[in-house]
Structures are given as structure tokens and as C-alpha cells.
């Protein structure tokens, strides 16, 4: 059926999903650290919204809770912690443009297409009215990974990691109307702990190499000093 025939709620859903995808593109090529964090927060917010819509539409009550969880974690807590980190490492002014942006963006687009192609068999499964979003969530995961590959700045890498988590969450919501509660809590807890540890590591890395450029973390290698 064509888009026009879909119920309004679902159309809204698709719009939001598109926006989420857009935010991760923004995240990918955002130069300023702070605005990257904001973009990440927006992504979280959008996903929370999607969750609420799915909850009302699909009538899965526990999704309200996970929507709340997402909002707390991804929109408030983690961005706030990142902000504090950035301030402590006085990186507010830090900007770092993406190298070869055109190439990277093309790669990201390719990933989107790839994930759509990949998601087809799943879309073929008539299950929920959110099925089309599977492709989007997969794309977000892959783009997050891509961002980690192309962004040498530690904080940005963490952002990429977190946006991968967003993608996963979106996938959970869109495909299966959320995971069992136990798992959701566990995942959320892990993410939180991970965020704390990332904070610790920012400081440790800063202490050891006076920078957050992970490219300079290259002592441990077989190629250079092991030439016998």
C-alpha cells in the first residue's frame, strides 16, 4: 500500500524515523563537539518520541516506561555527563572537521541503501506497522560504527558508540515493540556504567597523551618496534 493509505500516526512515525536518520548524519559530520552532543541528545529525544507513538499505536504498555528510560538516559543524563566532561577537559571550543567529508557521506548513504536491501526479508514479515523502520535502525547502527571509524576524537567516538546504542534501541522498539523489561534494565545499566567508565578514560587518556586524539594511541603495535 502506498504511503497515502497509511494511518496518520504511522506517517508521523515515518517522519520521525527519517529525522532520526538525519540526526545521525548530522552527528557524523558535525565539526563542533558541543553541537555534536546536542545532535545526539536530539536523536535520543526523537527515539523516545517514536517509542511513545509505538506504545500508543501498538498498545504495548511497558514501552511507556522504556520511553521514559530512554528520555532520562539518552536525552538528559548522558548529554549532561558529556557536557561536564567537555568542560573539565575545556574542549567547549574544540572543533574538528571531518576529513574527506564527501567520501564519508557517500559511504554513509551507501550504508543506508545496504541496510535497506538487507532489511527487505524482515520487512516482508507482516508483523507491526513499524516494520519499515528496521532498515533505518540498522542504518543508524552502521553509521555510528562508520563515525567511530572516521572520527579520531575520543569524545566523538563515544558519541558514535552511543548513537549505535540508539540504533539498537530503535531496532528493538521498531521490530519487536521492545525487549523484555529485565533486559531493557540491564542494557540501560550497562550503558550508564559504560558512560561513567568513558568519563574515567577521558581523564586517563588526557593524562597519558595530553590529548584526546585516539590516533596517537599507537604504542601497542607489532609493525614498528618489532623489526628485528
Amino acid at each position: 500500500m502506498t504511503l497515502a493509505e497509511l494511518p496518520l500516526l504511522q506517517q508521523l512515525l515515518l517522519v520521525l524515523a527519517a529525522l532520526v536518520l538525519f540526526t545521525s548524519f548530522v552527528l557524523l559530520e558535525q565539526a563542533r563537539l558541543v553541537s555534536a552532543i546536542h545532535a545526539f541528545a536530539w536523536q535520543g529525544a526523537l527515539i523516545a518520541a517514536i517509542t511513545v507513538i509505538v506504545a500508543t499505536g501498538g498498545g504495548a504498555k511497558h514501552l511507556y516506561f522504556s520511553a521514559l528510560l530512554t528520555f532520562m538516559l539518552k536525552v538528559l543524563l548522558i548529554p549532561w555527563m558529556l557536557h561536564r566532561q567537555v568542560q573539565r577537559l575545556d574542549l567547549e571550543r574544540h572543533t574538528q572537521a571531518l576529513r574527506r567529508p564527501a567520501l564519508v557521506i557517500m559511504a554513509a548513504v551507501a550504508l543506508v541503501v545496504f541496510s535497506y536491501w538487507l532489511a527487505l526479508p524482515m520487512v516482508a514479515q507482516e508483523l507491526t506497522f513499524t516494520r519499515n523502520i528496521v532498515a533505518v535502525s540498522l542504518a543508524i547502527v552502521l553509521i555510528g560504527l562508520l563515525m567511530m571509524v572516521f572520527r579520531p576524537q575520543a569524545v566523538l567516538q563515544v558519541l558514535g558508540f552511543m548513537s549505535m546504542e540508539n540504533g539498537l534501541f530503535l531496532a528493538a522498539v521498531s521490530t519487536t515493540q521492545g525487549m523484555p523489561l529485565l533486559v531493557e534494565l540491564g542494557v540501560a545499566f550497562d550503558v550508564l556504567v559504560a558512560m561513567v567508565l568513558f568519563g574515567v578514560f577521558f581523564l586517563q587518556i588526557r593524562d597519558s597523551i595530553e590529548s584526546l586524539d585516539v590516533d596517537r594511541l599507537n604504542r601497542l603495535t607489532e609493525t614498528v618496534e618489532n623489526e628485528r
Binding site: L118, P121, M122, Q125, L127, L138, V141, L145, M148, A154, Q157, F161, M164, E165, G167, L168, A171, A172, T175, T176, Q177, M179, P180, L182, V183, G186, V187, F189, D190, V193, A194, L197, F198, V200, F201, Q204, I205, D207, S208, I209, V214, L217, N218, R219, L220, E222, E225, N226, R228
Partner: protein, 490 residues
């Protein structure tokens, strides 16, 4: 049931207490005590499993496959904790970390044990994922315990790579859940492995295939499969040695365990399609690749712990290959190999710990004449490496014998790769080992206080397994083989 709970949650309680306990002296002992408690509980658990097939409930499930891994985990946990008490004391004397560091160490040690045991015993794939992620989180601080630039770097790489990998694994889990929801009416049970295994044949093949790819890449990162292995040598070489021992001995096993569980589901779902063996082929490919690549890496090592971590990659590759090969013989061999490899490898790391204390460095070129300086350490290292290289009468030989012959049966041409891989790996190990143990000792190198009890126990067990496999263990392994490969040997 209580046995399960005791086994799993004793370490958790221990972790909490240790986190609060100030005296690092008592912490060391308490660490040992908790590990011992957990081991006794696991022994009890094993006994009850041996009596009445399997234990299930509270989304825990212990069957023949994981019970022996549970016992193994608890056992290695105990011996390593025994070793780590004097070791960490020595570390503290040499000012490489402070009291706080020791507190973190002990607490995280038990937390890690908890996650391992939880991952092994749980029946819920989601909890499994949480536990494995928890294992990363609990060990990553230990890798950076010494705060040297290398340590921090290693920890960061470990964290990022395993985090990404584990995220992918979560995606796979989600997809599995998605596939499950079609065939199951109760969504809550959608992640319960036993239920899924019951309906494995109904799961949508396309989805399960994609899911398995994500899971393989995800958990494969933790197994240390090439080309996702790069974190492993760094983490092993920079963390404190007891950590390396448990990482090599336990974490890799658990990750492999997870992959096997999912492989069983995937096989069931793909059985009807044109490529029923797909998962197996993937495992074989990754296993063989890791096996060969790691063997080559062994030749260019300066850091002794790095070298042995590569040897871990090699052996995990071998096991992965064998599980992919399938069939009772190969599976039995792989299970046995899991057992003997973790025993031997942890023994090796413990010995290496002593050796590094003797020489005061991890640099292979500066570890010399161990046999002259401290025969106990030198000989243990020599014997243990001979064992890991697959020389009888040690258990590794038995399992490799089974693997090779099984391969000869099923895929004769792979034996050529196996043969050359084993030879290359062996050469790599011994060409570095010999100067370390043999030869004259350098000036001013003296023996250290070493507790060789754990090593001796491990080697004795491996020797025993090489000479004769006790019947009860044989029955376990056989039932596990039946679970995985659907065939008997006995």
C-alpha cells in the same frame, strides 16, 4: 537451585564486600575464600546435574554443556585468586599501584567471576548479553590498573572494540527475538534459549542468518577471532597477570559458549534451507583464519604475555573451527580442548607472572636462564608450553588428536592447513621460549617467592586428562556433545 544461586551470587556478594573492605591483606584472603565457596557450590551443582540431567528455573538453566564450564570457571577462578594474592602484594611493593588499586582489583575480580558464571548459567539470551557486556566493563578498569600510557591505551582499545562488538551482538539478539516473536505466543519467553531451541526449526531462516552474522561478529570480537582480535594481545599484555590468566582461561571460553548456543539455534532454523551448514562454514572459516594468522604472529613477539595471548587466539581459532566442523568426534574434541586449554593457558600465565617478577620485565629478550635461576618456574614454563604445543602425555594432545582425525574424516584437505598451522605455531612458541628457560642466568637475577601450587594442580590435571579421561567427565562431555552435535561417542 540453591547451588546455582550460591555459585553465581557468592562472587557478587564478595565483590560488594571487597569493594568496601580497606585492608588489602585481608582482601586477598577473602578473595580466595569467596572463590573457594563458589567452587564448592559449583561442585555441588555439578553433582546434582550429574544426578538429574539438568536444572532449570528462575531463567537459569544448567545442562551438561554449561555445567562443566561452570566448574572449570570456578576452579580457575580459585587457583588464580590463590596465585594473585602474593602476586598483587608484590605488585604493591613495587609501587605499580596503590591500596585503592588493589581494592578495585579485588572487587572487580569477583565482579568478573560473577558475570562469567551468570553468562554461563542463565537461560535468557538477553541476560547472557548483559553479562558478557558486564564482563567487559568489570575488566576494563583492571587492564588500565597500572596507569602506564600503554595500559591506558590497551584499556581504551579493549573497551571500544569490545563495546562495539557487543553492541552488534545485541543487534543480533534483537533480531533473534524478532524471529522468535513470530513463532512464540508469549513474548516474555522470546529470549529464553531452551524455549527457542524447542522451536528452532520454525524460526525464520533469513532473519536468523542475519542475526547470526551480527552475533558472530559481536561475540567473535570477544573470542578474539581474526580480524576482530586486535584488542586481545594489548589487554592481555598490559593488565595484571592474574587478569590475563582469567581473560584467556575464561572470558574467551564464555564468548565461544555464547556463539555455540546461537549456532545451535541457527542450525535448527537453517536446517530446511539450501545452506543448512552456513553457520558451521562461517565458524570454520573464522576459526581457520584465526588459527593460521595467530600462528604467524607468534614469530614476531617481544613481550612474553603478548606471545601467549596470540597462542590463545590460535587455540580459540582451533576450537571454533572444530565446532564449525560439527560431528560428535570434533565436538567432543573441541569441548575437551576448551577444558585443557584454559587449564594450561592459565597455568602458563601464572608461571609467566613469576618469570616476569624474576626478570623484572616482560621483554622476552631480557628473560634468560630461568631453569638456572629458579628451576621450579623454568621447568613449569617449559612443561606447560610443551603441553600447550600439543605434546603428550598432556590433554591438549588428546584433543588435538581428536580434532585432526575428525578433520581427516570430514574435510581431508583442511588437514594440510592444520598441519602447517600447528607446525608454524609450534616453531614460533619454542624459538622464543628456549632462550628464556635455557642458557646461563644473567648477573644479579635471583629467585622470587613463588607459590607454584596452582600451576602444579593445573598441569597435574592436564596430565591426568592426557593419560585417561575419568568416566564421569567423559559422560558429561558426551552428553554435551549430544546436545550440540546430536550424536553419541560412548
Amino acid at each position: 537451585m540453591t547451588a546455582v544461586l550460591l555459585t553465581v551470587f557468592a562472587p557478587l556478594a564478595g565483590a560488594l564486600v571487597l569493594a568496601l573492605l580497606r585492608s588489602s591483606y585481608w582482601a586477598g584472603w577473602l578473595n580466595v575464600a569467596v572463590a573457594g565457596l563458589s567452587l564448592t557450590a559449583s561442585a555441588w551443582l555439578a553433582r546434582s546435574v550429574a544426578l538429574d540431567g539438568e536444572i532449570a528455573g528462575l531463567s537459569f538453566r544448567v545442562d551438561a554443556f554449561n555445567v562443566y564450564l561452570v566448574v572449570l570457571t570456578a576452579f580457575v577462578g580459585l587457583t588464580t585468586s590463590i596465585f594473585s594474592r602474593p602476586y598483587m602484594a608484590h605488585v604493591r611493593e613495587t609501587q605499580r599501584t596503590g591500596a585503592g588499586g588493589l581494592r578495585v582489583y579485588h572487587a572487580m575480580y569477583q565482579a568478573f567471576m560473577f558475570t562469567m558464571l551468570l553468562a554461563l548459567t542463565t537461560d535468557n539470551l538477553g541476560v547472557l548479553w548483559v553479562a558478557v557486556e558486564g564482563a567487559t566493563l568489570s575488566t576494563v578498569l583492571l587492564v588500565s590498573l597500572y596507569r602506564t600510557p600503554e595500559a591506558v591505551e590497551a584499556a581504551w582499545k579493549y573497551f571500544i572494540l569490545c563495546g562495539v562488538g557487543i553492541a552488534l551482538a545485541l543487534f543480533g539478539t534483537v533480531l533473534t527475538y524478532f524471529a522468535a516473536l513470530h513463532v512464540l505466543d508469549d513474548p516474555e519467553a522470546g529470549l529464553t534459549w531452551s524455549v527457542l531451541y524447542g522451536h528452532a526449526s520454525d524460526l525464520e531462516p533469513a532473519v536468523m542468518g542475519i542475526a547470526f552474522v551480527f552475533l558472530l561478529v559481536g561475540y567473535g570480537t570477544k573470542i578474539g577471532l581474526v580480524p576482530m582480535h586486535q584488542w586481545l594481545p594489548d589487554a592481555h599484555s598490559e593488565g595484571p597477570t592474574p587478569m590475563s590468566a582469567v581473560l584467556s582461561g575464561l572470558l574467551l571460553n564464555v564468548a565461544l559458549y555464547a556463539v555455540i548456543r546461537f549456532k545451535m539455534l541457527t542450525d535448527g532454523s537453517l536446517a530446511a534451507t539450501t545452506t543448512p551448514q552456513l553457520a558451521g562454514y562461517m565458524l570454520m572459516a573464522f576459526g581457520m583464519l584465526s588459527f593460521l594468522v595467530a600462528g604467524l604472529f607468534l614469530h614476531r613477539q617481544r613481550d612474553v604475555k603478548r606471545m601467549f595471548s596470540y597462542s590463545s587466539i590460535e587455540h580459540m581459532g582451533l576450537m571454533t573451527f572444530a565446532f564449525g566442523l560439527g560431528g560428535p568426534l570434533a565436538t567432543f574434541g573441541a569441548l575437551l580442548h576448551m577444558l585443557v586449554h584454559s587449564l594450561t593457558k592459565s597455568a602458563i600465565f601464572v608461571t609467566v607472572g613469576h618469570a616476569t617478577h624474576i626478570a623484572g620485565t616482560q621483554d622476552i629478550d631480557h628473560i634468560r636462564g630461568l631453569i638456572r635461576t629458579q628451576p621450579a618456574v623454568g621447568w613449569s614454563l617449559l612443561i606447560a608450553v610443551a603441553a600447550i604445543a600439543g605434546f603428550p602425555p598432556f590433554g591438549v594432545f588428546t584433543s588435538e588428536f581428536l580434532l585432526l582425525t575428525a578433520t581427516m574424516d570430514a574435510q581431508p584437505w583442511f588437514t594440510i592447513a592444520l598441519l602447517s598451522g600447528l607446525a608454524v605455531a609450534f616453531a614460533g612458541l619454542f624459538r622464543n621460549l628456549q632462550p628464556m628457560v635455557f642458557g646461563a642466568a644473567p648477573e644479579g637475577q635471583g629467585p622470587v617467592t613463588a607459590n607454584m601450587l596452582p600451576v602444579m594442580t593445573h598441569l597435574a590435571l592436564v596430565l591426568w586428562l592426557g593419560l585417561a579421561i575419568p568416566p564421569f567427565l567423559a559422560r558429561w562431555l558426551d552428553r554435551a556433545t549430544e546436545l550440540i552435535a546430536g550424536g553419541h561417542l560412548l
